[in-house]
């Protein structure tokens, strides 16, 4: 029976495939999508609708829908709050510092590509990728063990040499460098993977031809390797710019401490403090929504620029 239906379906014009034969064949697919689509509606779309809290005088007992509409009042309130601007400034600042480290994975990838000793290359790659799998809690813990002023190993060592301990975690400027360094530790090695993949697609004959022409190794890197990975560099750079207004929660939260909140309080941790710890849900939702909208605009702009520059979008 099924076979006949299938053959009949195959001989009909495409449009008719959605008839009985098509449905009969497709119902298991709808069944398979049932739970995943329910998931997306409940856990992704309902929270999207939940941003209306930002426009309401949210009252836990009345619930989201029964609470009173207040228009843009909540936004007016956050735009008058110095802490909000500080969190926004810190978010951008820490992201700018992270952006300054953007070339590190590129340099690492080019160097890995130049390594001729196979086992050494393999081993270094394994070690370079490892930090990516270490959770931020553990990174935060390690940073304290190593850099704390009183008990950190680095400062113990400095003290044993007769020097004065360096307040890596208490001084704001040093903390920003610590934060950025922890980011490099966590991401830089893993970040080489996309560049290495791009490097393998460069035509080997180019290098041979250049060598015959007497181009030095550095010249070959400059004229062949770099142009070969340029599209990857451009796309990843645009993506990172597109994420300028977004910041993860775990990295800043695991690294921050009471001394440096002036520079360490970012949007995500601020939303947590105001929203979940102090239960000012409308306020925190508005701050989060502001960030999401800016983030969306930046990301779409990045996509447009990428289409212009690269003749192809990121997505």
């Amino acid at each position: 029976m099924q076979t006949e239906a299938r053959r009949a379906g195959a001989s009909l014009p495409v449009k008719r495939r959605n008839g009985m034969a098509g449905l009969k064949r497709q119902w298991p697919l709808y069944l398979l999508m049932l739970l995943p689509m329910t998931f997306f509606i409940v856990f992704k779309y309902i929270p999207m609708a939940g941003v209306v809290v930002a426009f309401k005088d949210y009252n836990i007992f009345q619930g989201i829908w029964a609470s009173e509409w207040v228009g843009w009042d909540v936004f007016r309130e956050i735009f008058g709050m110095p802490q909000f601007y500080k969190a926004l400034r810190n978010t951008l600042m820490l992201n700018v510092f992270a952006l300054l480290t953007f070339p590190i994975p590129i340099i690492l990838a080019i160097m890995l590509n130049e390594l001729r000793v196979r086992w050494y290359k393999r081993l270094s790659q394994t070690l370079l990728y490892l930090p990516h799998f270490i959770s931020w809690v553990i990174v935060g813990g390690m940073v304290i063990q190593l850099l704390a002023t009183n008990t950190g190993s680095v400062n113990e060592f400095i003290k044993s040499l007769g020097g004065r301990p360096i307040p890596f975690l208490e001084d704001t400027v040093l903390w920003i460098l610590t934060y950025t360094g922890a980011g490099v530790w966590h991401y830089a090695g893993w970040g080489t993977i996309l560049y290495l993949a791009a490097l393998t697609s460069i035509n080997k004959e180019l290098y041979e031809a250049a060598e015959v022409d007497g181009a030095s190794r550095l010249r070959r890197i400059w004229h062949i390797t770099l142009p070969g990975i340029k599209p990857t560099i451009v796309v990843l750079f645009i993506i990172q710019i597109g994420h300028m207004a977004n910041i993860s929660f775990e990295q800043p939260y695991a690294l921050q401490n009471g001394y440096v909140m002036d520079v360490a309080q970012v949007i995500s941790t601020y939303v947590y403090t105001v929203g979940i710890q102090s239960a000012q849900f409308a306020l925190a939702t508005a701050v989060g929504l502001f960030q999401s909208v800016i983030g969306l605009i930046l990301l779409l702009t990045a996509e447009l620029i990428s289409r212009k520059v690269n003749q192809q979008g990121i997505f």
Binding site: V42, F43, G50, I134
Partner: protein, 290 residues
Amino acid sequence: MIRNPVDKVIDTVVIVLIGLFALFCVVPMIHIFALSFSGNRAIMSGEVFLWPVDWNFHSYSAVFEDSSMMRSLALTVILVVVYTAVALVMTIMSAYALSRRNFTGRNVMFGLIVVTMFFNPGIIPNYLLIKELGLLDSPLSLILPLMVNAFLLIIMRTSFSGVPNELEDSAWIDGCGHFRFLLRVVLPLQLPILATIGLYSAVDRWNMFQDALFYINDKNLYPLQLKLYQMVINSQVNDATAQEGFNAATPIPQSIQSASIMFATVPILLVYPWLQKYFISGMLQGAVKG
């Protein structure tokens, strides 16, 4: 290949620089490892660098005797196993359906899923949803909201699309429906991508602490990472005073913290070297689309 002196210099420089960066990546971890096995005196006098001084297991016995720590470990293991299984099943179901070319409405559904990757409503609306669903202080809050990762779903769908259409057609003619085709043909062909997605899910669940921080107040339900956060990071203020009155028998906070850090990292370290290639292939397949 002709090697000139300049080439040799470049080779050496590259080997040294890469070596230094590799050390930068592992030395902190080796140091923590050394601290966790060292004696109190050696730690406090700053003698420990890459190898334990005055070997002992005090801090590890303290960690293993801490029943709340063991409870967190057990809970985390269960969470990781259940979550990985659920995430895999959900991702396989949707990836398979969305990879079938003759599936009416697949573009609409796929579009609805992709949209969720662009707009994140933020921490609070998610929190309010969990609250309304009555999932605060329930381990389910650490599984349900993460069941399908749209990014991993796209990776798996791309991979499933690689199964030739002719295979499906001939299976259909043989009277094999979608369920049997998925279980008997697609999944056995796609084991590497299943391993990749499963591993990503497992590592993510093992490492993540923000959702537990938001949704779990009951200390008995703390997963390992959150427990570790409270122990290592939140307690740093008390460190200086706690160290004043130490005696040789009880390990100082620093060595207990090091031991706890190792305790939560070792599973990752054990898994990682063997599965590295799956992680990398996942990253690359994701990049093609993402």
